[in-house]
């Protein structure tokens, strides 16, 4: 109705020259922004050390529990160290998944607070908020994996291949974990509260984690479950990590894991970014 009044006075200022590229954010600025925001996320951890529990304590507790509670049953009493070699590479896959969950709750939390409004009114690329979060979470993931491996070695794990293969396993777990982050970012942007994000995430994670080859050989499972573990990307990652650390056929599981990582990212990252843009 009153939109018609807009044409008159607006034309006066429209004459002001504005270069097309003006306001665009250069790569260098963009990196600086990501750095500043990553620093923010790290300071948050410093202020709230409990938020590192998942990265620090979980690998310790999981290795102890699984090796000593199930290790005897799986590999026979007194043969727990054999299970260490089986389960620790599998747990690497799980770490990535569990840590990446925190991205969703963190993003959700940001949107509940006013601070996201401040970022949105600033001349920064909006994606830098997401990227900074991912950078810091990848760091947390590496810490968790390092602690996990430390525990594994303490409990008698041995490397069947060599150190470069071990690093390849770490890298693969991290790449896959990073691709999962997009799912959790999407969840974090969609759900109303951080608690809801956590609830939904757990619901999805539990069957995926245990219905995989992470903890036990799928050949010991009923046919339908074995079928499920075969399509479960976590099995692929666990198999790949195990083969890289212990030796064995690597190619298929590694390629499958990479394919999953690319696939998940290709589908969920655009959705998450679109959702983020819509919200911002």
């Amino acid at each position: 109705m009153s939109a018609t009044t807009a044409a008159g006075p607006a034309t006066k200022t429209a004459a002001m020259p504005v270069a097309a590229g003006e306001g665009r954010i250069g790569l260098r600025s963009n990196l600086r922004h990501i750095g500043a925001l990553a620093r923010r996320n790290m300071l948050q951890i410093k202020q709230d050390p409990e938020s590192m529990f998942d990265a620090v304590l979980m690998p310790v507790i999981f290795t102890l529990l699984f090796v000593y509670v199930f290790g005897g049953a799986v590999s026979g009493k007194g043969h727990q160290h054999e299970y260490v070699n089986y389960v620790v590479p599998g747990l690497m896959a799980m770490m990535g998944m569990n840590i990446s969950m925190a991205v969703g709750t963190g993003i959700n939390d940001d949107f509940q607070k006013g601070v996201m409004d401040r970022f949105r009114t600033m001349p920064i690329a909006r994606s830098s908020v997401l990227i900074a979060k991912i950078v810091v979470e990848v760091g947390r993931m590496l810490i968790a994996i390092a602690i996990l491996l430390g525990m594994g070695f303490a409990l008698g794990m041995s490397i069947g291949t060599d150190v470069p293969h071990l690093f390849a396993a770490i890298a693969l777990s991290t790449v896959f974990g990073a691709s999962l982050m997009w799912i959790f970012i999407l969840l974090g942007l969609t759900m109303k509260t951080a608690q809801a994000v956590q609830g939904v995430a757990m619901l999805v994670l539990m069957p995926l984690q245990f219905g995989s080859s992470i903890f036990a050989k799928p050949t010991t499972m009923p046919g339908w479950l074995e079928g499920f573990t075969k399509v479960n990307p976590l099995s692929n990652l666990a198999d790949a990590a195990r083969a890289l650390v212990n030796g064995g056929a690597v190619a298929h599981s590694v390629w499958m894991t990479l394919a999953w990582s690319v696939g998940i990212t290709a589908v969920t990252a655009p959705l998450a970014v679109a959702r983020f843009r819509k919200k911002t």
């Binding site: 109705m1 009153s2 939109a3 018609t4 009044t5 807009a6 008159g8 006075p9 607006a10 006066k12 200022t13 429209a14 002001m16 504005v18 003006e22 306001g23 665009r24 954010i25 250069g26 260098r28 600025s29 600086r32 922004h33 750095g35 500043a36 925001l37 620093r39 923010r40 300071l43 948050q44 202020q47 709230d48 607070k113 006013g114 601070v115 996201m116 409004d117 401040r118 970022f119 949105r120 009114t121 600033m122 001349p123 920064i124």
Partner: protein, 384 residues
């Protein structure tokens, strides 16, 4: 590493004030419309903020003030109309626009887990200041907003006033040409409110253009050069503060005699001494409320008149139970302008016909306050 930021990008951080704008309006809004479902949060708003001045946007909850600020800071896309800030269009040039604005909302938008200093440093870096500059600017603003002592504590430990000051400081890092203050003192105690006012004044003295939304006539009077009164997404009055005050009426002095029966004698004495003001002394009618019974109201024309009134009453030996000055509340302003109450309870105008939802402000997610809270200043009145 510090040298890296000396590139062309950082120029924008410090020299954002486009003083060479040909027009005089730093903010130019025409026919702005924003709907939330069936609610018209903005229903064709026109306004201008002249460069270097403060525009007060006065209105009750649900008037569309926050939506207006959110549109002007590129947080919300309008459905129709145009808005330009420092010559940049909110829809087509949001990135350029974000370089020249600062926003302080009703709720402090700082990272609670970070210290005050870290918050400001982060924002400095996001505005492309070098590490050194960002640190210096952070310290400078902490000092200016009296937050130096608390600089290293996480913001979640700050009091409401400290948070608001930190938020103001955060908005100031980039020396914005245009500053939006969305109800900057809502929920603050009077002392903190005065501190915030002082800061706003010094920002204006530095040359900033300010768009201030408020529910308080007093705040508008203290800070604004011009005033736009909004209600249900529409501008219902606009003009200089003095102009509007003339229409609405300024301060009144309210005297409550210890003995209510003295009111008539007081009125007569004041009229006789020629101190009753232009409108004449009115014995506030009871209106069945009981509270205003026996209160003598005198329109205040000058501070000298105030002193004279008090002196006269003391000389005549009147016993006074309470005395205070009173500014028109938002309700009274609305009553004077539109002939109806701000909260729409006495709706009669065509704007409100069939629009029962206009009152709730949608989408803002902000806290609610009772609309039209009357303000008593320097009030020592005792209710009997």
């Amino acid at each position: 590493m510090g040298a890296v930021s000396a590139g062309p990008a950082r120029v924008v951080g410090m020299t954002t004030r486009p003083t060479d704008t040909s027009g005089t309006a730093a903010v130019e809004v025409r026919g702005l419309v924003k709907h939330y479902g069936t609610t018209r949060a903005l229903d064709g708003v026109d306004l201008d903020v002249r460069q270097g001045t403060v525009l007060g946007v006065l209105g009750p909850n649900g008037a569309g003030k926050t939506t207006l600020v959110r549109v002007l800071s590129t947080l919300v896309r309008p459905d129709a109309g145009t808005a330009r800030v420092a010559g940049y269009d909110v829809l087509t040039q949001p990135r350029q626009l974000r370089r020249v604005i600062g926003l302080t909302g009703q709720y402090a938008s700082v990272d609670e887990k970070l210290s005050g200093r870290e918050n400001l440093y982060m924002i400095g870096r996001l505005l492309d200041l070098s590490r050194k500059e960002a640190r210096a600017r952070a310290d400078e603003l902490l000092e200016r907003f009296s937050l130096t002592e608390a600089a290293r504590r996480p913001a979640m430990q700050y009091s409401g006033g400290m948070r608001r000051r930190l938020d103001l400081a955060a908005s100031m890092i980039g020396r914005p040409a245009v500053l939006y203050l969305d109800e900057p003192t809502t929920g603050l105690d009077p002392r903190t409110r005065n501190e915030v006012w002082d800061e706003v004044r010094s920002m204006v003295a530095d040359g900033a253009t300010v768009l201030l939304t408020t529910q308080y006539m007093e705040e508008a009077e203290q800070l604004a050069d011009e005033l736009t009164v909004v209600d249900r997404g529409r501008v219902i009055a606009t003009g200089e503060v003095a102009e509007l005050k003339a229409r609405v009426g300024g301060r009144t002095l309210r005297i409550r005699p210890a003995d209510p029966r003295d009111a008539a004698a007081m009125t007569a004495a004041l009229a006789e001494a020629g101190l009753s003001g232009a409108a004449g002394v009115t014995e506030a009618p009871g209106e069945g409320t009981g509270r205003d019974e026996g209160v003598v109201s005198v329109p205040v024309l000058s501070d000298e008149q105030l002193t004279a009134v008090v002196g006269l009453l003391a000389a005549r030996g009147f016993a006074i139970a309470g005395i205070g000055t009173h500014l028109p509340s938002l309700d009274e302003v609305f009553l004077a302008i539109t002939g109806q109450k701000a909260d729409g309870s006495a709706k009669a105008g065509p704007a409100s016909a069939g629009d029962g939802t206009a009152n709730g402000r949608p989408g803002s997610g902000n806290g609610e306050r009772t609309p039209g809270t009357a303000q008593e200043t320097e009030d020592v009145e005792v209710s009997v």
